[in-house]
């Protein structure tokens, strides 16, 4: 023992109390089940106030549901994600794994009372959310037994990519080089010196008076944004 007297074994009850994570291969998923209609009731009392009755609200957060099609359910790629003119991105447009939803709802939702749902309630609201996006039918009962089948219908299940140089190890992909390559030109470089974007005048004071966001002494002051710019 390298460090005598430090730390102790965890009891099985202790591990059970905290080991709540659920992986994409469903390791960690507790047994249980919940129907769409059960989920609807829970949703309406415990989730809709923040996320909207159809998961469409963006009052406290991005909409959870919307933007996916039956075709996406078939292909596993959310088509609208390829469109540069479609600004919104709902949770169900992005999420690749049903386990991610289950795990997160189970640990963190409802936001103001996390970990208050029973296992079956988590199954049920998950079913309800999936039903809103027509991933599962109205009479569906999701359970640990059939969740792997549900995974095969996740609309963006094929929309992810882990082959990039921004993971600090070779666990996902080996030898990938950074994707953006720039060179360090020093003189007479081909530069764009035309201003293409700047803060519109009406937004001048949108972050408050910048004169009050800089020190009172120093090489400069904050700009008084309560008055228009000097010529």
């Amino acid at each position: 023992q390298r460090f005598p007297g430090i730390g102790r074994p965890a009891t099985p009850a202790e591990v059970a109390a905290w080991d709540i994570d659920v992986r994409p291969d469903f390791k960690g998923l507790p047994k249980g089940q919940g129907s769409v209609s059960q989920g609807e009731k829970i949703w309406e009392t415990k989730c809709a106030s923040c996320h909207g009755v159809f998961g469409e609200s963006n009052e406290v957060f991005n909409p959870l549901v919307g933007g996916t099609t039956d075709d996406d359910v078939r292909t596993g790629r959310v088509a609208t994600l390829k469109r540069n003119d479609y600004p919104g991105r709902t949770t169900l447009m992005k999420v690749a794994y049903v386990s991610t939803l289950w795990d997160y709802i189970n640990r963190a939702m409802p936001w103001n009372a996390p970990k208050s749902l029973t296992t079956n309630e988590v199954y049920a609201v998950t079913a309800y959310m999936l039903n809103l996006a027509r991933i599962v039918p109205d009479d569906f009962v999701i359970s640990d037994a059939n969740i792997a089948e549900v995974q095969k219908r996740m609309p963006n299940r094929n929309g992810m990519n882990t082959s990039h140089a921004m993971w600090p190890g070779d666990e996902f992909a080996k030898g990938v080089k950074p994707d953006v390559k720039a060179a360090a030109c020093m003189a007479n470089c081909a530069a764009e010196t035309k201003v293409a974007s700047s803060l519109p005048d009406h937004a001048r004071n949108a972050h408050g008076n910048l004169a009050e966001q800089n020190r009172l002494v120093g090489p400069q002051r904050g700009v008084a944004t309560t008055t228009p710019p000097k010529p």
Partner: protein
């Protein structure tokens, strides 16, 4: 003109009242020691605060506050000004009741108290922490006025803690099978992130309790947080309660739904963790006004999630010509580096930029170069070169060039 000349002569004979009339503090007795057992900044520093960006988030508990980079010196961020990012609000956790559990692919699942952890051999290292969404508002157009808002989800501290590998070894970790760890917090979101064992094995990942000489601040995870050098802030799990060793990644909400980078082809890059080489000029910067022509010291910060900053170049003509800046030593790995360069402002418009290069040879890209590969919908990991336009009036604005 003659009146002005007279005033000038009078002033020459007399001088500045701030000198000629001795201030109160030169003629009186000041305040006692321990006026504050824990001191605070001068009343004249009241403008130096962390701030929210109006409208950026819909709630204040799943939100961010930005560090006032425009007013900071050197590389250490005062803990009171450290940027905040909470997903379900922050807590002041009782450290005597806080526990850290280790489970998964190891011989003995274990529990540690804070007493236990603080008895183990620790290291102290200076590292930056940057939110993956820093500069995220600026992928498309100019959205915010100052470097507090463009780059302020960035801070740098001396962190003290125990290398996670030490704890894993104590629990008899299976270092062959175990390729990933899950880090889990004790807050409402019980924030979870997958961390590569390759980084853990290097000894760089810390289970940290110390920040700038004292304990972590509650907003930053008191009493325990994970420190994952070079990796985006959301992986530095706060209120750390559990570490699980596993053979597969966890696909947690914040690594596969939220902190994902949308590519032009409509796919999402998941697990994008490293904060690539980046820099920003903090003086002069957006929302400031220069008082006068003449000498200025252009200064700013550079950093890389892949190691040390090797070089920083500065341009005052919008990128046509560059000069290499001075770097303040010590230059440390995955740590902020302060650069500076002399500049005589002639009163004409100027566009100021900085470009950092890290020890891997990676060159910080132009916005255009970044967008060419990643489009404009990526949100995360905007490490493009920042441009500040100094106008004739002395006013400095945030601009994008094309």
């Amino acid at each position: 003109a003659s009146a002005a000349a007279t005033t000038a002569i009078a002033q020459q004979r007399e001088g500045d009242p701030a000198i000629l009339e001795l201030p109160e503090h030169s003629k009186g007795l000041g305040k006692p020691v321990v006026t504050d057992g824990y001191g605070k900044p001068s009343q004249y520093e009241r403008n130096v605060q962390r701030r929210r960006s109006p409208g950026l988030t819909q709630t204040a508990q799943a939100s961010v506050s930005f560090a006032p980079l425009q007013s900071l010196f050197g590389i250490v961020t005062p803990s009171g000004l450290h940027f905040e990012r909470h997903h379900q609000g922050w807590w002041d956790v009782d450290p005597s009741k806080h526990r850290l559990m280790l489970n998964g692919l190891l011989k003995t699942p274990m529990v540690f108290t804070m007493d236990d952890i603080m008895r183990l051999p620790s290291v102290s290292r200076f590292h930056f922490i940057e939110c993956g969404a820093n500069t995220g508002m600026e992928w498309g157009n100019v959205a915010v006025p100052t470097c507090q808002y463009t780059h302020g989800m960035l801070s740098c501290s001396e962190f003290t803690g125990v290398p996670l590998i030490t704890l894993l070894e104590m629990a008899g970790a299976d270092l062959k099978q175990g390729r990933f760890v899950l880090a889990e917090g004790a807050d409402g979101s019980s924030m979870t992130r997958t961390i590569p064992m390759s980084l853990v094995k290097s000894g760089e990942v810390l289970v940290a309790y110390g920040q700038n000489g004292e304990m972590l601040r509650p907003e930053n995870g008191y009493p325990l947080r994970l420190v994952v050098p070079g990796v985006q802030g959301v992986s530095w799990v706060k209120y750390l309660r559990r570490i699980e060793l596993g053979d597969q990644p966890w696909a947690t909400k914040d690594e596969v739904i939220h902190y994902v980078d949308l590519m032009p082809d409509g796919t999402h890059r998941q697990y994008t963790s490293i904060q690539e080489c980046k820099s920003v000029v903090t003086t002069p910067s957006g929302g400031q006004v220069l008082l006068d022509k003449g000498h200025y010291t252009i200064t700013g910060l550079a950093w890389s999630g892949r190691g040390k900053v090797k070089r920083v170049d500065v341009s005052v003509d919008g990128g046509r010509n560059w000069r290499t800046a001075r770097l303040q030593d010590p230059v440390m790995s995955k740590c902020l580096t302060r650069f500076s360069l002399d500049w005589a402002w002639d009163g004409k418009p100027a566009i100021i930029q900085s470009r950092a290069i890290d020890e891997t040879g990676y060159v910080q890209p132009l916005k255009r170069q970044l967008r060419e590969v990643r489009g404009t919908r990526s949100i995360y990991h905007n490490n493009a070169i920042q441009s500040w336009l100094v106008q004739e009036s002395g006013e400095v604005g945030n601009v994008h060039l094309a």
